[in-house]
Every structure is written in C-alpha cells, then in structure tokens.
Symmetry: C2
Subunit: 301 residues, 2 copies
Amino acid sequence: MWGQQRYIAVDWGTTNRRAWLIDPTHGKLESYADNQGLLSVPKGGFEVSASDLRSRFGDYPMLLAGMVGSDKGWHQVPYKSCPTDLADLAKGIFWMQGGSIGIVPGVCQIDGNADVMRGEEVQAFGALQLGTVAADGLVCHPGTHSKWVRLQDGLIAGVQTMMTGEIFSLLRRDSVLSSQMQNEPAANHSFDEGVDLALNGAHLLSSLFQVRSQYLLSTRELDGASFASGLLIGSDVRAGLAAGHPRDMIAIVGNQQLSTLYLRAFERARFRAHIVNDDDAFVAGMQAIVDHLRVVQENAS
Amino acid sequence: MWGQQRYIAVDWGTTNRRAWLIDPTHGKLESYADNQGLLSVPKGGFEVSASDLRSRFGDYPMLLAGMVGSDKGWHQVPYKSCPTDLADLAKGIFWMQGGSIGIVPGVCQIDGNADVMRGEEVQAFGALQLGTVAADGLVCHPGTHSKWVRLQDGLIAGVQTMMTGEIFSLLRRDSVLSSQMQNEPAANHSFDEGVDLALNGAHLLSSLFQVRSQYLLSTRELDGASFASGLLIGSDVRAGLAAGHPRDMIAIVGNQQLSTLYLRAFERARFRAHIVNDDDAFVAGMQAIVDHLRVVQENAS
C-alpha cells in the first residue's frame, strides 16, 4: 500500500533522470542519476529502462514525474489545469503494470497566456511542504526553460515559462557572439552589468549585440558569457516579478550553479529570495503525493 | 579618374556579394550576384575573387563596401565614428593595387551604447541621395542583424543593432520551437498577433514559448513561424522607434520579403514607413562617394 512501503521516485526529464529509493518514514535511502532522459531511451524502451532502475533499488513500486508523461515520453498523461492542488495531481496519475508504476500529470494554464510544465509542479508542492515557500508564494525554477509558479492558498494558481536558458545556449553555441561567450557564466561585474541593464528595461535584441560591438571596438573588458547571461536572467527576473505579483520571499528551486546566478539577479532587483535544492523539493513533493495516496486508500478500505 | 570612368561597385557581405558595373553618367549597366561572401572565400583568396569580378565586367576600378572591410574580410579598415558624413567615408577608404581597388570603411558609435555597421552606412547615404529619407530621418535596415541608422542634418548620427534575424534563425533551426516554425513567415493573422503583443511590451523570452504551449494545448491554430517573426520584429520596431526619436517618415532599406514584414509592423505601430530597394540605395550611396572622390581629385589638380 502506498505510504506504508518503500517506493522509487523518478524525476524523468528530457536529458537526464534522477531516482531515489524512499522510505515513507525514514526518507531518502539511496539515489541514482544518469543521462537516460527521453532523448536516450529508444522507441518502446521505457519498460526496460524502468526495470533497470528496479534492478538497482529493488522491486518496489515506482512514481514518475517530468517529461516522461509528455507526448515524447513513456505515456502522455493529460495536464491538470490550474488552479490545482496535490489531490488533483494524485487523482490524475496514470497507472501502469497493475498500479505498480504511476506517472504524475503536469500542469497547464488555460486562462490568460497558455502555458505548461511537467515536473516543476512536484517541486513547487515540495518546496511548500518543506516550508521553504509560503502558501501564497512565488517559485522560480531556473533551467533550459525557466518556470515561474504562482502559489495561492497552497494551490498552484499559474505558471509562466521563459526560454532564457535555451536562448543562452543557442547564442553560445552557434551565433555571431559564440567566440566571446565560451566562459562559464559567473556572478561577476559583467553579469551585474547585464542584469542591471535588463532590470532597467534595456532591449534584449539590441543589448545582446553589445557582446560583439564591445569586443570589436575594444572599449573595455567584457566577459561576454556572463554579460549575456546577466541580460537574459535579468530580463527573466524582471518579467517574472512583474507577472507574478511578487511576494515577500521568493524560492529559487534549481541546481546550485544556475540558482546562484538567479539569486544575484534578485538581489540586484532588491527582492528577497533564497535557494531551495531541487532534488530535496522533488522528493518532498513526491512524498506529499504518496501521503495523499495513502489517505485515499485508507478512506476507501 | 574617379567620377569620369566606369567602375565596379561591390556589396561584399558575410554570405553573399552583389556587384554592379556603373557608369557615372548612365548609372547601372550590369549586375552580378553570387554566394562568394566572406565565408566562401579561402584564406588569401580575395585577390582572385576580385579578379573574377573584373573578368566578368572588364578591367575597371573597384569600390567595395560591407564586411569585406572587417577583421574577417580582405583587409580590416578602421571604422569612422559617428557623427560622420560622405566626406569622412571617402577619406577613410583603404586603397589597394595602386588605387584601383578601395574598401569603404564602416561606421561605429562610441558614445552611448557601442555599436558598429559595415555596408548599411552606404545604403543610408544612398537612401538620402535618392530623396527617400529626410536629412533628419530614420533608416531601418532589416536583416540577420537589423541596423537602425539615425540621420541628423544629413550626417549619420547613430546606429543601433538588433539580433532579430539571427535569433529567429536559431530558434527555427534548432530549438524546442523548430517543428512549429518551418513555414515561411508571412504578414498574416499570427504575425499581427505577435507584433501587437511585442508593441504592447510583452516579454520576448516568455511570449516566444507560446509557439509551443499553444501547440501542446491545441487551443487554436497558430502559424508558429509568423507568430515568432511578429514577436521579434515587433520587439525590434518598438525598441528602434523608442531609441531613434521617430520621425515623420521611416525608410526601410532591405530585401522585399523581410521589408514587407517590417512595413506591416510599422503599420501596426501606426508609423508611416516605406520600402526602399536595398540595391538601389547601395548603388546610389557608392555613386555619391565616387562623386565626392571626383571633387577631391579636381580640387587637388
């Protein structure tokens, strides 16, 4: 029965997957990560790929979330539309293999700007569960696509996606700016300069070209990668704060390196924010869903 | 002597080159275009590539402009910094082969935001020469990088570059939006929708993702390429108008297809603009420089 026995929680994304063996009482027992994201799983190969995780952890039930529930994943699970809560997510789980494997649905926004997410909803509820964000708080998930999740009375009320990370990668890999963008972006003076420009409403399409013109004119030293990163993250933060009706304290849920850059941008914007480890938030969210499943099962029996 | 004999004018860019045989009295006699831009010329191969043009048109003096004068071109010619006029450009020409081949310098902006251009300055002066833009007018050059050129008393007073076209190409070729962006962008309803959003200050990083979320949620038909193009061009036009102290009438100097999209965006922004053929503007600008060379030579003799 869910909530009484060990289970395997999997954050299964496009590029990577991370898995944990979880004991409802003692929490995380083991963890495992590899690059067997959707792009690396051959057609029809998800069953084998999931069995592989079971052979590592033991033959426990599995709860999956993330892009594994998308049209490019194992099975497409319909989005829950916001406002939505944990009970909605639990109800929307798609069960396979006699109920021993479930995929948690993503969340969509229909009203206003159409938007979607898969995986971040679990992290957002997890951050709430951990007490790291208020029931009316704002959660910023940096990443290839950053996701801004608005909470309201403990429900997910809205989501907004920004293509920040992807555009940074495209510019770095294959644009006229590439050769000036090969450093790892860091929270240095060039980064701050980009953030400040963006926070003051500078135009992105134009400001990005500064990376090239400053280089050509050699007017001064500019760390192109950090400057461009600052412009993009600053622009992201500016729009996210404007759209998200900023609250007292913002939770940044993401990996350490990227979260640190966002934290700096929030500081420049004079907003209080703090970093929540994305794995911790994910595991807490999955456990909250499992707790909910247990209650439902108890009430039914 | 320049201004009395025929010459070959070449707009030599990164990807393409276009050349014209020009008679100072009768104007364009012949034209030729190929894809022998900088990227296709082997190291040390510019002399041969230029000879090839002479073998087509005859052994006339040549005047070159565009990226051929950049660090990646035949010879790096220092920028003239604005404010700058035709006389400055003529003075800055780098002469080779005993004065039978010259490269016109580009223009840079040092004050305010650093910026640069090579080739558009010739077109801007050409548009002025043709009477298609006022001496205090604003010229918008759409392209991989769009360039906004501010004229003041017939001088080039400022330039602003936007990475509009390049970001569109990157998104179309290799992003999560690619499969929804394979149409040729057109001035249709989706384009207008993108333009209007951008003109109203919508956030680019977020609005672009609509291409994907509208597709996933199938809420309605959206031509992704035209919508994204509208967002980017609308954003470009909004910033260009804001920075350029908009005048009564704006000249769009570019190829027909792209210029038509910009014209539509100006219409949505309720600004009067008109399209000037980029080749005509270039040839007129080169002829104006040649006229200037003639006067200088006459005064010197």
